[in-house]
């Protein structure tokens, strides 16, 4: 678990009704990669973060945030 980083991938996926497999196929990674990023077990590269942002059409900061920044 990454103690510093939080992500909102699950929330974004649920809002858009996209499965982990669909997201993985769309950005060109395995479902396991999405699953581990979502649960905080694996911190992805900037490339994957940017691909996710492009897929969800939101800024990267809307997907990933530092835990210190949260109110």
């Amino acid at each position: 678990m990454n103690e510093q980083l939080d992500n909102h991938i699950h929330k974004l996926r649920t809002q858009r009704k996209v499965s982990q497999q669909e997201l993985a196929d769309a950005i060109g990674v395995s479902r396991k990669t999405i699953s581990t990023v979502e649960t905080g077990r694996f911190t992805p590269s900037v490339v994957i973060a940017l691909k996710m942002a492009r897929f969800f059409e939101v800024p990267v900061e809307s997907i990933f945030s530092l835990l210190d920044d949260q109110p």
Binding site: G28, T33, T36
Partner: protein, 154 residues
């Protein structure tokens, strides 16, 4: 719009990522079975276990089957990715590196311990020590990889 983007971004080589993880998993299982073969060799060398021959035959057979299945199902590019440490899938790469790091650190400690333990006048079988160190190396690589690849539901 989202659907179009989804279709556009879908890579035709997408199954490669799953294949890489499958290869990594089978390779780790193979490593564990090979480690079992080496442990049997150690038992035979050091303790002269009576049933070592049967154990040896069984573990060798299991290792051969596992290796054949791994070789049959994997393409050249995936095998090359394993040896060069350049998997297309980022998580597979991460796991492979974690396995290698764990193997390096564990074997360093094990080599130090072996050096310390055999520095006296004791006579020990070099084959047995090599087998033991090989087993430690293989287990140290396989366990973090299998732990990282354990099943996880959506």
């Amino acid at each position: 719009m989202l659907l179009k983007r989804k279709q556009k971004m879908t890579s035709k080589a997408i199954s490669l990522y799953e294949r890489e993880q499958q290869y990594l998993k089978r390779n780790a299982v193979c490593s564990l079975i090979m480690a079992a073969v080496l442990v049997v060799i150690c038992l035979d060398k050091w303790f002269n276990v009576a049933f070592a021959n049967w154990l040896y035959a069984a573990t060798i057979l299991a290792a051969l089957v596992c290796m054949l299945v791994t070789i049959r199902d994997c393409f050249g590019s995936v095998k090359a990715a394993f040896w060069y440490g350049e998997f297309q899938d980022e998580f597979a790469n991460h796991l492979h590196q974690r396995g290698c790091k764990s193997a390096f650190l564990t074997i360093s400690v094990a080599l130090g311990a072996t050096f310390g333990a055999t520095s006296g006048d004791k006579l020990v079988s070099g084959q047995g020590i090599s087998a033991a160190l090989g087993a430690v190396l293989l287990i140290a690589y396989a366990l973090p990889v299998l732990k990282g690849l354990r099943a996880e539901n959506e």
